[in-house]
Amino acid sequence: MRITSFLVMIMFVIIGCSKTADVPISYKKIPVVNCIFSQDSIWKVYVSISGSADNPKGEAVPNASVRIFKNNQLIETLLYKNDGYYLAQTNTKPEVNTDYSLEVNIPGYKTVTAKDKIPPAAQTAFLNVDTTLSTYSYSPFDDPAEVFVATISFNDNEPIDKYYMITPYYYEKDELKIYKVTKATIDSLLKYRYIAPNNNDSLILSQIFDSLFYGKRAFEAKLKSIYFPRSFSSQITTFTAVGTFNTYYPDLFKYHKIYSSDIYFKQLQDYYSSVFGEKKSDITLTNYPLRLFLGYYPGGVPVNFNNVLTRIDAEIYLEISTLSNNGYKYFTTYTQNIANRTNPFTELKNVFSNIQNGAGIFAGANNIRVKIR
């Protein structure tokens, strides 16, 4: 009995000690302004006030004054659309290598300002993609699996600093044949993809009853000027050679001058993400390989039907974007912020912002979309 009591006491002391309690945080309220602009889209700016843990989205600001300047000359005063989005009233689109600035006035807050420009596009004339079959364990705890490794390289010898973001997408061919675009999708496109509600816009649509349709040919023809609905996008994450995942290493990219061959993509349907790279002006980018681990069969993607892996015809695209330095810092720190925010071993990684008197991003991007065959 004495021994039992002794043991119970020890267990009580050792195990029964810990307690937890939620800690209130006083969240700061600051203006948030987001705008990634490219020559494909008209001006669209998101304006809100930062939120809290219970309401992370914050409050949309419907009564702000949002003005766009080109070379310090006012060119647009945006109109409030909905959910914090302000849209251009004209169909003018930003130009490459031109200075743009933003000024947002929100009642009760200091004037928010930012400036940036769209960088030149990536030079992809000599894009090369080699796909080979390989076997790989995505993590130490996963069984080895057959994957296709796409080694992608291109030459970019323009003597300027460039910052790349590359995102793979796939699109199932069946869906391309007759793709049903609902009104909600169009709204989504309007909201997120910077497509103006204008019949002269590059998106060609036809409408039958309450739904909108477009054909594959139209889709492919206009591929360069629309974005896919995100729900059909590829889903990839990154893995390093040592089995750690979900973090990006800008330093490593620099070490390899452009892309790290240690960046792997996981199966398309499980995750997706982008890879980042940068080159300095004195570096000529020639055939630095980007290795993508693609969970696809040539010309298709695997789909699991009743535990049987089936190939579905699909087309895979790479979106090769050049970002301004501000945009590059924003997206790289954004992915690090997500990856590390629950890591108990590291400090929080703050997301970069070039917004004065607020948070968010105002950055130019130049996007090219190429198909992997």
Partner: protein, 791 residues
């Protein structure tokens, strides 16, 4: 600064010439030299003040002294030490004489806390903690602990709740030089940092130096904790054993050859793993934790003037989990048995051979050959067995992680008692460091690879000379230069570090002191900012990550208003350069290969004031310490290049310790700690990111959060933990038995059960956002132990 150093060195040379001339002038004197020993054990006693007329010298680390007296004169020598009875010796001598003096412990000393200086009376920034007092201070789980006692002193901040990490005057945990019998110890933690390595039973003395560093010390910026082991009783076999809730330990010491040689052995082991083992029989999940440590020391008196000692320390912690499960192997329906085993272990090993040699009546030299190692390992192994008992190789997997440091070195230092007003200590040392900052290997499935930071070997040499000088009765000076030559690869670093500490006796009860010290530290600790597992990587200074440097200025005033009381006030200002932190997003997990690229270099500043009131004697004794301090850091690539508060920047820090001993049969002790909480970075700005551009189901580290929201902190370390306070109490019931003394100890840690935060972590909310949660570890913890000291 360079000009200052040149002037300082030139002045130092002139000073030595002056000493030489002075030596010739005082030839009409003779030397009385020798050792001071404890009467019963023959243990040599350091820091004994030996006085003659108005002159005094202090015994060195070997218990040696040398004092000049007038030839053929009747000489009265006084030997005084806080823990021993005063002793007078009358001598009339005509030539240099070597003597051995024995002192008897004070009968009532157990009732007193004698926080005292070790060398000069109340040396600035230096505190000696008598080991018998440390044993009385209340402790977590009743485990007496030197480091936890050190944490109760002003100017010393504790880290996390219950941990043995300590931070001195705004410095980092790596900036504390911890010496065990002169050997560097790299990690002092047992039990994930809750207990320290050093069982008090094996320890003879503990000195903490926070500022005004003598030139003999180098290699760290913020403090020196000099722990000296007992030599062992040369007359009788004595010892003690104790049984506590966490561990049991035994300590034995005695003569090998009576009066000439001795041994001392202590051993300790926890037994949580053994106690829970019966409850885990036939369970699929097994686990356990234990640590052990042991110290052995042999001491040989070769002759009257030569002494040889050999000491060894070995300690290791091991945490193990084993899980067993069944897994279906693909679509074939085969069930495999899968066993996963994780081991986490770390440990220290040290060995030293020390020769103490008295050359003449004025010169005493120590030679030490030393080896020390610390390693940290994580091993994970998964094995799969199919129904036929065959290994399923493609399911097997193993992961091994190692970080280690080993030192091999030799050093010598000599104490030269030039005159009663001047002692010169000089020394030289060389250490070869062997680093494996980080190494990981994976095997299993299609993976078989090893990633390791390259093994790095560095050389560290030093040369120092310091002088204790009392030009007048009211002024004493300790000054010197410590030079370091450090090489890594083809890169060499050379550093000259001048030190000075000056004391002015204002009147019979009060002193004014000031000091200046520059320090160099050619080693860094990469510390994870997590909950405090000892995943700290020791890495060398390199060309990319140069050594840390500091300059510290201190000024102090002390007064003894009565026999029992002493009050001191010290103010300090410390600048540090070359301090490091992991870059944002980096940790030991992703820094195996290129740790130098994952580190940010910066600088730090700390300043503050320490108040220290002691009651040294009486039935009730103790101290009150209060520190008001600031500590901050600045890194180019962190916090947008702005200053931010250091993680352990505790603005206010109050400590109260009281000992009450009405009789020899009973004593009680009480301690109270109150300080500002640790700093932590929390996201206090949440907003929507650019929609659709970041993956919707991006994998988080522990769990996924909604990636459309950005969590930013307005600045680094922008929040403060709740105020920390805790009170502990301890009772000892002693009884004399036929063969020794029995003691029952009852301790209550955190007796009013304050829920102090151990660490914060993030929890997912219903809307996939984050909320901050505080984790508290120790509420009230009663404990008891039994100890028996045999005669």
């Amino acid at each position: 600064m360079l000009h200052f150093r040149v002037r300082f060195i030139r002045g130092f040379g002139l000073f030595f010439i002056f000493c030489f001339i002075a030596e010739q002038v005082i030839a009409q004197f003779i030397n009385i030299s020798g050792f001071v020993e404890e009467a019963s054990t023959k243990e040599r006693i350091t820091a004994t003040v030996v006085s003659y007329n108005n002159n005094s010298v202090i015994t060195n680390d070997a218990g040696y002294f040398s004092i000049k007296v007038k030839k053929n004169d009747s000489v009265l020598l006084l030997f005084s030490h806080a823990e021993y009875q005063l002793k007078n010796i009358n001598l009339t001598l005509s030539s240099d004489t070597f003597i051995t003096v024995t002192l008897t412990p004070r009968a009532k000393e157990l009732a007193e806390i004698q926080i005292q200086s070790s060398r000069n009376s109340n040396a600035l920034g230096t505190i000696s903690l008598p080991i018998r007092k440390i044993e009385k201070i209340p402790a977590l789980f009743g485990e007496k602990d030197i480091i936890r006692a050190i944490q109760l002193l002003p100017g010393v901040q504790s880290g996390s709740e219950g941990s043995t990490g300590y931070y001195v005057r705004g410095g980092g945990a790596d900036q504390n030089l911890i010496l065990l019998d002169g050997i560097t110890i790299y990690n002092v933690s047992h039990l994930f940092g809750f207990l320290s390595l050093f069982p008090p039973e094996a320890v003879k003395s503990v000195d903490l130096i926070k500022g005004g560093f003598p030139a003999r010390y180098g290699g760290r910026l913020s403090s020196v904790l000099d722990i000296k082991l007992k030599d062992g009783n040369k007359h009788n076999v004595t010892g003690n054993y104790s049984i506590g809730l966490l561990s049991s330990k035994v300590s034995v010491e005695g003569p090998i050859e009576k009066g000439k040689s001795s041994f001392m052995v202590t051993a300790r082991r926890t037994y949580i793993d053994l106690l829970v083992k019966p409850f885990l029989v036939n369970k699929p999940n097994q686990g356990g934790y234990f640590f052990y440590d042991g110290i052995a020391k042999l001491n040989f008196k070769l002759n009257q003037k030569n002494n040889l000692s050999v000491s060894v320390y070995n300690g290791r912690d091991r945490f193990t989990t084993i899980t067993k499960e069944t897994q279906e192997n693909g679509s074939a329906g085969i069930i495999n048995k899968v066993t996963s085993e994780t081991n986490l272990e770390w440990g220290n090993f040290t060995a030293a051979i020390k020769l103490n040699n008295t050359i003449s009546g004025k010169l005493n030299i120590n030679h030490i050959v030393h080896y020390t190692s610390f390693d940290y390992k994580i091993n994970y192994k998964r094995t799969a067995i199919d129904p036929d008992g065959n290994s399923v190789s493609q399911k097997n997997f193993s992961f091994n992680y190692l970080s280690s440091i080993k030192d091999l070195g030799i050093k010598s230092n000599a104490d030269w008692y030039v005159s009663n007003k001047l002692k010169i200590t000089s020394g030289v040392g060389y250490t070869r460091h062997f680093f494996v900052p980080s190494s990981a290997s994976l095997s299993g499935g299609q993976i078989s690879q090893t990633t390791a930071s390259s093994k790095i070997q560095t050389n560290e040499s030093y040369l120092f000379s310091e002088a204790d000088f009392s030009p007048t009765k009211k002024i004493s000076i300790n000054t010197g230069v410590h030079t370091t030559i450090y090489s890594v690869g083809s890169k060499n670093f050379f550093s000259v570090q001048p030190r000075i500490r000056n004391m002015i006796q204002l009147n019979s009860t009060s002193q004014l002191q000031f000091s200046f010290a520059t320090m160099l530290q050619p080693i860094h600790l990469l510390t994870n900012n997590g909950p405090g597992l000892p995943i700290d990587l020791w890495v060398p200074a390199t060309q990319k990550i140069p050594p840390q440097k500091s300059i510290q200025y201190t000024i102090g005033y002390s007064i003894k208003p009565g026999k029992a009381y002493e009050f001191s006030l010290e103010a300090y200002y410390k600048k540090m350069n070359g301090v490091i932190e992991y870059a944002e997003g980096a940790s030991f997990l992703n820094s195996t290969l290129n740790w130098e690229e994952r580190v940010e270099k910066g600088k730090g500043v700390s300043y503050g004031t320490e108040f220290f009131l002691q009651k040294k004697t009486g039935v009730l004794s103790g101290w009150i310490g209060y520190t008001l301090s600031w500590s901050k850091r600045r890194f180019t690539n962190l916090n947008e290049g702005n200053w931010f508060w250091y993680k352990y920047d505790h603005r206010h820090d109050l400590k109260v310790v009281a000992l009450y001993q009405p009789t020899n049969k009973f004593d009680a002790s009480f301690s109270f700690v109150l300080n500002s909480g640790n700093r932590v970075t929390v996201p206090d700005v949440i907003y929507t990111g650019v929609p659709g551009t970041v993956p919707l189901n991006y994998a988080g580290f522990l769990f996924d959060t909604d990636p459309q929201f950005i969590f930013n902190a307005s600045s680094r370390n922008n929040e403060t933990f709740k105020t920390y306070h805790r009170a502990d109490i301890s009772f000892n019931f002693n009884k004399e038995k036929k063969r020794g003394t029995r003691t029952w100890n009852i301790s209550i840690y955190n007796f009013y059960s304050r829920l102090n935060t151990y660490f914060y972590y993030y929890k997912e909310t219903q809307n996939r956002s984050l909320t901050l949660t505080a984790f508290t570890l120790f509420p009230i913890i009663p404990s008891f132990s039994y100890q028996f000291k045999w005669k």
